[in-house]
């Protein structure tokens, strides 16, 4: 648990993630217009929940190969940003605004947005490749975790594609669209540090499910623009939303039990408290104040 001090101060973990993103991107960001679009997609970031989760879990597992941990954090954040860039394109959500400023295609054009997303998907694997020597015998598990979280049949790309299917089951949609990357962050953080991948995968599943329900509640009951994005988008884009499925009270109750179960599933250690805080923080970010009393 040598590096747990890096996680006890949450700011350190965020800074570590930012430094890792810069490090893996810096020497390869070319040509200039593509580099600018990729930079726009990655910096400044949102809450960096996924990479912070990966780092936090790696720390809980001992973080004995910190360069490998950092690469996993970069991989999950790069995939997340890639999916945002492509989801915002005119042929999907046609979102002109992301995180309170122009989306990548609004600022850099559609062509550069498509390529920036592509480059970010590849960057996830380049980050793993950058640390293949340090990763050693852990590389196969990391490659599998990252690739499957992104691709078919159950990763991000399939999750996004589910929106176009006539029958889109809410759980399967949430699992692929959101859960897959939380699972990759959790399982990848554990695998980077030689931890118990199956155990931490379940934590990722729980947090991913909670995150998606919280996001759905925000989309229906939150203040537009309060998280740097408009609300009401699911109805506008005919996407499944947990509030439709369970009602607002039902969704809030479901979120509450998910948060409790997931926080309880974190094994006790010096790193447990900040991880549980990270999990509970998803409520604070997404759920409107007047509904938080029902969850706390």
């Amino acid at each position: 648990m040598a590096n747990v001090s890096g996680w006890s101060d949450r700011m350190d973990v965020n800074e570590r993630v930012e430094r890792a993103l810069v490090r893996h991107l810096r020497d390869r960001a070319r040509p200039s217009k593509l580099a600018a679009a990729v930079d726009h997609a990655l910096f400044p970031g949102g809450a960096r929940v996924r990479p912070c989760l990966a780092v936090g879990i790696a720390i809980a597992c001992g973080d004995d190969r910190p360069q490998v941990t950092d690469a996993v954090a970069v991989a999950v954040e790069a995939l997340h940003c890639a999916s945002l860039v492509h989801d915002d394109l005119p042929c999907f959500d046609d979102a002109a605004v992301r995180r309170g400023r122009p989306s990548v295609h609004a600022a850099h054009g559609e062509a550069m947005a498509v390529l920036a997303g592509d480059a970010l998907i590849v960057l996830a694997f380049q980050a793993l490749s950058d640390v293949s020597a340090e990763a050693g015998e852990r590389l196969p598990a990391l490659l599998s975790i990252v690739a499957d979280s992104a691709g078919m049949p159950g990763g991000l790309v399939s999750g996004q594609a589910l929106e176009a299917e006539e029958v889109c089951v809410l759980e399967g949609y949430h699992m692929a669209k959101t859960g897959a990357l939380f699972i990759a962050a959790a399982a990848g953080g554990a695998a980077a540090a030689g931890g118990d991948v199956a155990l931490w995968r379940r934590v990722g599943e729980g947090l991913g499910a909670a995150y998606q329900i919280a996001d759905d509640i925000h989309d229906r009951a939150g203040a537009s623009g309060s998280l740097g994005k408009p609300t009401g988008q699911d109805a506008l884009n005919a996407r499944p939303n947990a509030v439709d499925a369970y009602g607002l009270d039902g969704a809030v109750a479901r979120l509450k039990s998910l948060i409790e179960e997931t926080a309880a599933s974190v094994p006790d250690s010096e790193a447990a408290a900040p991880l549980r805080r990270l999990i509970r923080a998803q409520v604070d970010r997404f759920v409107p104040a007047h509904l938080q009393a029902a969850i706390a």
Copy 2:
């Protein structure tokens, strides 16, 4: 050289590539609309030059881990098809036709075309992940070769992005847009079989350069539709073309010397003859008959 019979009959190599593509895609092609778009992008293929090159070079190196060879072949073909799907999008070439039939976005819509390209990029890495146990100590080199051929700074994505730069040097553009994947096929085929990666990388560089010049000559002097795509596209899209840079005679002379040098750089072995034929076949496919006499 146990498997050289698989290469002495060219049909066998093509069939091996098709089977490998089906094998790595089959169990993960979901959901249905995305699967249909990916299938459209991959089947039926074009000449499968890159994966056949990878398999041919692996055979020349002994092909002692054929599953790993196959995965490399799938990876380079998946990346190639991904780049075609995204390059055809309205925000790039806006090509309604590819290989004599509707392009992916024309047939499946823009959203599915974006996602199919994304899924194919990821499939390249899933294919490597599928054989990580067999690849063993060769996995890091394979991951590096495949990732760098696709991403920044010198891979496919950067090559496509160079089209948007004010100053686009022809050699750098060709190297990234076309050369990178030929290099990955050659170096990856060698790495899959434990061969001399640096030596075969040079063969890939030569073939990639020859292929791009042949393609440029076809675009300027070929019959429109004769390769399943219209000619004159480089001028229409203001892309650099070797015929502008060197003149038609100069481009043909350059192609001739590249083909000779590249064929000569193939080390003598039982597999050398079919590999040299593959290299020369790029002339037959792309260069109009009335110009071939100058090359033969």
